[in-house]
């Protein structure tokens, strides 16, 4: 392990972007960080609201057309190496909002997230359980550190 990744390991920053789901997933993600019961900070992962500080982008929601542009902007302003974790059924497949139309394309939804930005880990659930968010975020940290050394 190089010195850079050794340092990075102590302070992984997580940023949350919300792209139009029902709020359930977001509250569970905030719960993951703020609630002492789950406490993702024990894995040295901290919440930030500044994309330039972030390492891991957590995306929830089905990406409505209006939030597509900002999502790409936020993704691009994160310095490399960066990873994306898509959280919730909406972010993975478009959820009820996209698929209920069957074959018809939805007028409102541009997602799921991997139509818009590359996704490294997917956490299913509607809404996700905080334990799963912790597991998902922690499982991508080795990939992040590997990328850092390159």
């Amino acid at each position: 392990m190089g010195i850079k990744s050794l340092a990075r390991k102590k302070a992984i920053h997580l940023m949350l972007v919300y792209t139009g789901g029902c709020n359930g997933c977001d509250i569970e993600i905030v719960n993951t960080v703020l609630s002492p019961k789950f406490d993702i900070e024990q894995y040295n992962v901290y919440l930030t609201w500044n994309p330039r500080e972030a390492d891991v982008l957590v995306v929830s929601g089905p990406v409505t057309h209006w939030t597509k542009e900002p999502l790409i902007k936020i993704y691009e302003s994160i310095p490399k190496p960066k990873l994306v974790v898509a959280v919730g059924a909406c972010a993975l497949t478009g959820g009820v909002y996209k698929n209920i139309h069957g074959e018809l394309p939805s007028e409102e939804i541009a997602g799921p997230v991997d139509n818009v930005i590359p996704v490294d880990a997917k956490v299913p659930g509607c809404a996700v359980r905080p334990e799963d968010v912790v597991a998902g975020v922690v499982s991508v940290i080795p990939i992040l550190l590997e990328k850092e050394d390159k």
């Binding site: 792209t19 139009g20 509250i27 703020l34 002492p36 609201w49 929601g61 900002p70 409102e108 809404a127």
Partner: protein
Amino acid sequence: MVTKIDGATTCNETERQVFETELNMGTVHPAALEPYRVRLFIEDEIVKDAEITVGVNHRGIERIMEGLPVEKANALTEKVCGICSNGHIFNSCRTGEGALGIEIPERAKYLRVLAQELERLHSHMLYLGHGSEVLCHETFAMRIFYIRESVMDLLFMMGGNRVQYGISVLGGIRPRADLNSREKQRILDTMDYIDEKVAAFAERFVADPMVMSRITGTGELSQKQALDLHVTGPTLRATGYEFDYRTKMPEYEPFEFNVITQDGGDVRANILMRATEIFESTNIIRQVIKGLPEGPIVNRNWELTDAPVYKSYIEVPRGVCYHSYGLEDGKVRHSIIRTPSMSNIAAMQESCIGHPVQDAQLNIVSCDPCFTCTDRAIQIIKL
């Protein structure tokens, strides 16, 4: 322009130039949890005008619901909001039942009230946590989030999921959500725990001189303004006006509870309002468990027929929520949902005006915003 009068330096009011600055944030801004747009027009750090716009997370649930059988549409309404998900499914089932003339068993009514009150508990605690976070007091936020987990565990026990628990179905409640005696005891124990912990939290909160001086007098909303803007829910009650739709709902008739009000309409009143309502909710839950009648929990004896437009109002944690259905052969032809935050957006704007810009975020949060569920296609009718 500075002029000298009698040797003292004063500002000449007539010549002073004031620049209006616009500060805008959003729609997707990293600092705001939900996507919404705020425009603040500032003069001398005082907000002169504020404008909040929603619309980016419009997913068109009502449109998706059209043409679906009413039970399926009910399940979809839960996805309107992740905080008051039970409020929406409760109200849409109630609407469907009213339209089709379905009788609901007594036990199901009690359990619906139980779910609704548990949801109020978790929503109010989320508010307290979010408010403390915006006050930059993370310790308070963590403390209240820890207490909130006990409510989430109860909801998980009842519905099998932490957010979208889907307790109501057309005609009653889901068999999964029925309670046995062990579960009843667990709910009672948790209510004691919540009462104790929240009382200790509230005592510590009001004893903190720094926090109290920060929140007293910020974001004031007068009672007259609140009534003019048709603000609902705890935000209205925090201005001293006694109005709670629960007192008019037949489901709540067997239970005794007080309508809590606070004076002032500022952030302090709003926070204390939610904290005191928690005790009323635990009280109602105890009464539900004590008086829970035996019997069936779901009535499956109904037919899908035509029904004219039927409207239903209930009190959800943030105020009055409205659903309406027009049914054709039991399929949804028309549906309208109006969430309480729709009318509370005006309160958020109004409470920013006249206050320093650094309080704006706090003032908005003090009205308990939920922009996700508010994003519906609306039509404003001028009277």
